[in-house]
Structures are given as structure tokens and as C-alpha cells.
């Protein structure tokens, strides 16, 4: 069988924690240095993001990184920290690669 490359475009990698922290700071914590945002900092309890913020983040993942999240992934738990957002995006990328 010919080893032709697959005709589908290569999936972009999921955004890194630094990318996500950069967006969260730019959009929700203006004036802060993104490096100061601990990846485990609870963004929900501290009201940095609310449900509207989750939608903003999902739209950013889709528009800027081509990562589309199914509705059932849009839960608070999946957006609680930068690390959780990274894992959520990572799962979505893995799912698309499998598909």
C-alpha cells in the first residue's frame, strides 16, 4: 500500500498553559503579568471567570486554536484553573485526532 500522506490537514497542537494564561490575563485580569498566574489558581472561586467567561474561553479555543469543545465539556470543573483548561483542550484535540 502506498505510503501517501493523509489528505487531512495536520491538527494544530492544543494551546499551552502559557498561551491560556496569557489569554486569561489579557481578557480577565488586565494589568497582571501572565507569569504570576499559577496554573492551579482557582479562576472560578475567585470570580475571575463566570459562565460567560467560560463561553469566551471556548470561543477563543475554537477561533484561535481550532479546538472545538462539545457542549458537555463546557462545565465549571473543566475551566476551574489554567491547568484544567489545558487538559480540557488536550482531550478535545485527542478526540479529533482519533476521529
Amino acid at each position: 500500500m502506498a505510503a501517501d500522506p493523509p489528505a487531512v490537514p495536520v491538527m494544530p497542537p492544543a494551546p499551552s498553559e502559557a498561551d491560556i494564561a496569557g489569554f486569561v490575563v489579557e481578557r480577565f485580569l488586565p494589568g497582571l503579568d501572565a507569569a504570576d498566574l499559577d496554573p492551579e489558581y482557582d479562576l472560578l472561586a475567585t470570580a475571575v471567570i463566570d459562565s460567560l467567561g467560560i463561553l469566551h474561553l471556548a470561543a477563543w479555543l475554537s477561533d484561535e486554536h481550532g479546538v472545538d469543545l462539545p457542549d458537555e465539556e463546557l462545565t465549571g470543573r473543566n475551566f476551574r484553573t489554567v491547568r484544567a483548561i489545558r487538559a480540557t483542550a488536550g482531550r478535545a484535540v485527542a478526540r479529533e485526532e482519533r476521529a
Binding site: L29, L32, D38, Y41, D42, A45, T46, A47, D50
Partner: protein, 504 residues
């Protein structure tokens, strides 16, 4: 209190007769004895009577800064049986003029020439008391006759004029003397400007009971060393004031030594932050602490003595109602709570006004169907929490309650949480309209030192202490002191205006 207490002027005159050489006032290092102050008050009385004679029954306006002469002028009005409006001298001329008019002032009296002053009074002028040289006793006054006309702090618009009857002030001074053992030998620091309701305790109750008032110059009210010197040098036994005063005294005590003479500390005006409370024990090793709750309309209504043998947590409870005070807490339906819960505090005190002189009372003073029949309650505008054991804590003002994503939030409560953070020196939280959330909270915070706490740490601090809706959506840290109103409270209106004009 079974005996009817003496009116303030009569009580002062009696003290002056008993112990004329006792110190009444200390000002700028100079002591004025009771006899001397009485003579000054007599001279002021004559001049008040002469100036106001054509206008029987009308109050006079006073335009004075704090000084022994100003104290004598107030006493002179009381001795003449004249009502007097005592507004803040910091008010601009235009609103001040309006206030004098609204109060129906016959003439405006001052101690120095001024465009607003009709008659300059000189309590030190040599004219003796009465033509015969014999001092006349203070005029007889009816219990319900108006004496003091104070003003509210008025963060919005013109201050409201609060008339206090001779009887109300007499009852107040009797209570204060009882509660804080005011007597000859007591030395009381007066920090507030002379027009503040706090002076009913620290100036007027002290003079009615033979103690000494150490007058602090409001111009130097932020000098920690000056204030520490006043307390230490004059062996002050009672200190009443806003948290700022106690913060300044504690700071100075850390450098210049503890203040060992104060026996009573009375917290007033706003809630004491945890950080300020924590600084008190080394600064005042022998003092009892009292949290005082009241307002200009009712004067003191609740008092809480802090139990120093147990851990102290902020905000302090407001404690028990004073003798003769009626109170209830109304819930959302306007009915009185019968158990634990949250609502507006309604109070009635033996010291309260009968209503504003210049604006409609707007339902602020009224009987309540669930209250004691015949008792007129004042709607305090304070939201309180009634605990299981019946004690009360103040959560904030009803007008500081906003809805954020459907949750009732007190911006003042959020401020008090921020002030508990050791790195926060000042905090203001304002609610801005938000199309989605209803309101969003904006916190402006001045740190004790730049960089001493990050925005993330402050968010975390709030999140650990309150519901998520009460965590401000924006935290702004500044290095400049927050703007304050003429009465020293953080000027949230100015902050809100600066934010709504800065953003589209």
C-alpha cells in the same frame, strides 16, 4: 434613670460652681478652668441674647472652628436657651448659607469676621455677666425645646438638619457619664470636629460631669505623633474616635511607647478593621474596649464591650441596646424578624431627634406595627444580621446593597473583608451597572506598601470569605490615598464617578 437629668447648661454651671479651678479644656497646651470657661460662656450668652433678641423662638447659626471660645459660644447658646445650628465649617459658603436659611436661623454668629457671619462674638471681652456682675443661672428650658441642631454627614446633596431636644441631650449625657464613669478627674480626648455627634460624648457629656476635655486640632488630625502626645502628656483616660484615630495612636505608640492612662476606648463612626484591632493591645495595655453603634438621628443606641479574654474577630458585634432603647429588625416583607435572619435595623432611643428640620422625613421616623405601641422608630438604613443568640452584627448600609447575578451583595461588607487583609490600607468597593450581571463590583485598594499583595492574592482572600458574587470583578491597586468626604469617610461616589467617566 428615675431622676430627670439636668439640662446640659445647668449641669455645666453646677460643675463650674462646685470646682471652678478644675481644668475644663486643654487646647494648644493651654488649660481653661471651669470657672474661666463659665465666665466666657456667660459673656457669649449675653452677646447671643443681644444679637438674637429681635427673633424670639428662632435658632441662631454658628460658624466656628474648634477652640475654647467655640465651646464657650455653644455653652452660651445653651445658657440663653437658644437653639443653634452647628454645621461643619468645611462646607462651602453656598450650601452653608442654604442650611442656615433652612434651619430658620435668625442671625449667624462667629468668632471672627467672615462673609457669612452677621455678628462676631467675643467670649473673652471684659463685659461681666449681667449688669450687676452677678451671673444669672442658665435660662429654664423645656425638655422638648431644641438645643443642638446638628447635620448628617450627607454624602449626597445637602446635609440633613437634625434638631436635638434639651431633654434628649440631658438624657444622653446622663447615660454617657454612667457608662464611662465620667466625673472630675476623667480626661477625655476629643478628636472629632465640634459639629460631629461624637462630641455629645467626648465634649458635652464630659463638661456636664466635671471632667477635662483635651481638644485635638482637626488640622493636625493625621499626625500620629501629635495625637500620641496629647494622650500621653495630658493623661487621657477615655479615647473615642474612628478607626483612623486608633490606627494612628497605635502606630505612634509602637515608636514612642505605650499609652498607659486610657481606661476606655470607644470605637465609633465605622467598623473597626481587624488590622486596627490587632494593633491595640500593646498600645493601650490597660483599656477596656467598647464598640459603639449609633447615628446622628438617634445617637448611641447599642454598646458592645469586647471580651478581651477571648479571641477578637472583626467585624465586632454591636452588642446590647442601651437602657430605654427599643429596636427591631425588619425582613424583606417589612415585618419584624422573630428569630435569626438579616434585615434593616429600626431603633428608638431616648436621645433621638423628632425628625429632620429641612427635608421631609420620608418614612424614616414612624411607629411600626410589630413594634412597641406609641414608639417612633428610626429606620437606620443599616443591614444587620441577627444571630441565634439574639446578638446583632452590622453587614452594611441598605443603600450599599446591590444585586450581582441575582445575589444580594453589600459593597461595604466586601470592603470590610478586604480591610481584614494585612496588606490592605484602604479599600473602596463600588457597584457599576452591568448589562448581564445587573451590577459588577469594582474594588480600589491602597496597599500598605506597593506590591505587598497581588491582585490574585486579594481575590483569593475574598473568595475564602464570601460568596462568589461578592468577589469584585475588577481589582485596582493604587498608591494614592483614596478620596474622602468632609467627614473622613471614603468617598465612594467620587470613585464611582471617576470610573463611569473613564469607561465608555
Amino acid at each position: 434613670m428615675t431622676r430627670r437629668p439636668l439640662p446640659l447648661a445647668a449641669a455645666f454651671a453646677a460643675r463650674a460652681g462646685e470646682r471652678p479651678s478644675d481644668p475644663a479644656l486643654v487646647w494648644e497646651g493651654r488649660t481653661t478652668g471651669y470657672g474661666e470657661l463659665y465666665a466666657m460662656a456667660c459673656r457669649a450668652r449675653q452677646q447671643v441674647e443681644a444679637a438674637a433678641a429681635p427673633y424670639p423662638g428662632r435658632p441662631v447659626g454658628l460658624r466656628v472652628r474648634k477652640s475654647p471660645e467655640a465651646v464657650a459660644l455653644v455653652l452660651g447658646c445653651l445658657m440663653a436657651g437658644r437653639g443653634f445650628l452647628l454645621p461643619s465649617h468645611e462646607l462651602p459658603d453656598l450650601p452653608l448659607k442654604e442650611l442656615y436659611e433652612q434651619a430658620g436661623c435668625a442671625v449667624v454668629l462667629g468668632l471672627a469676621g467672615d462673609p457669612l457671619v452677621d455678628v462676631v462674638v467675643d467670649p473673652s471681652a471684659p463685659a461681666a455677666c449681667g449688669g450687676t456682675g452677678q451671673p444669672r443661672p442658665p435660662a429654664e428650658v423645656a425638655e422638648d425645646a431644641t438645643g443642638f441642631l446638628l447635620t448628617t454627614s450627607g454624602s449626597t446633596g445637602l446635609p440633613k438638619i437634625v434638631p436635638l431636644s434639651q431633654g434628649a441631650v440631658a438624657r444622653f449625657t446622663a447615660w454617657a457619664a454612667d457608662a464611662f464613669a465620667l466625673a472630675p478627674g476623667s480626661t477625655v480626648l476629643n478628636y472629632a470636629p465640634l459639629n460631629f455627634d461624637l462630641c455629645l460624648l467626648d465634649v458635652w457629656s464630659t463638661l456636664a460631669h466635671g471632667g477635662t476635655v483635651v481638644l485635638a486640632d482637626p488640622e493636625r488630625g493625621t499626625s500620629a505623633r501629635y495625637l500620641h502626645g496629647l494622650v500621653a502628656d495630658h493623661r487621657v483616660t477615655l479615647v473615642q474616635g474612628v478607626p483612623l484615630l486608633f490606627e494612628l495612636l497605635s502606630r505612634a505608640a509602637a515608636e514612642s511607647g505605650p499609652l498607659t492612662t486610657p481606661e476606655h476606648l470607644v470605637f465609633a463612626g465605622e467598623a473597626m478593621p481587624a488590622r486596627v484591632l490587632a494593633g491595640l493591645p500593646p498600645a493601650f495595655p490597660h483599656a477596656r474596649w467598647f464598640n459603639n453603634y449609633g447615628c446622628t438621628e438617634t445617637n448611641n443606641s447599642f454598646l458592645y464591650e469586647v471580651d478581651r479574654t477571648r479571641p477578637v474577630t472583626a467585624p465586632l458585634p454591636i452588642g446590647s441596646p442601651l437602657p430605654g432603647v427599643h429596636w427591631l429588625v425588619t425582613g424583606d416583607d417589612g415585618r419584624a424578624l422573630t428569630g435569626p435572619g438579616q434585615g434593616e435595623l429600626l431603633v428608638s432611643t431616648p436621645f433621638q431627634t423628632t425628625g429632620y428640620a429641612n427635608v421631609p422625613n420620608g418614612g424614616k421616623f414612624a411607629p411600626h406595627p410589630d413594634g412597641t405601641p406609641g414608639v417612633v422608630y428610626y429606620r437606620s438604613g443599616d443591614v444587620v444580621l441577627r444571630h441565634e443568640d439574639g446578638s446583632l452584627s452590622v453587614l452594611g448600609r441598605t443603600d450599599h446593597m446591590v444585586k450581582v447575578r441575582g445575589t444580594q451583595v453589600s459593597t461595604q461588607h466586601v470592603e470590610s473583608i478586604l480591610l481584614e487583609h494585612p496588606a490592605v490600607a484602604e479599600a473602596a468597593v463600588v457597584a457599576l451597572p452591568d448589562p448581564v450581571a445587573g451590577h459588577r463590583l469594582h474594588a480600589r485598594v491602597r496597599l500598605t506598601e506597593p506590591g505587598s499583595a497581588g491582585v490574585l492574592a486579594l481575590r483569593q482572600h475574598c473568595a475564602e470569605r464570601t460568596v462568589r458574587a461578592a468577589v469584585p470583578s475588577v481589582f485596582e491597586t493604587v498608591s494614592q490615598p483614596l478620596p474622602r468626604t468632609s467627614t473622613g469617610k471614603v468617598d465612594r461616589n467620587r470613585i464611582r464617578e471617576s470610573l463611569s467617566t473613564a469607561r465608555p
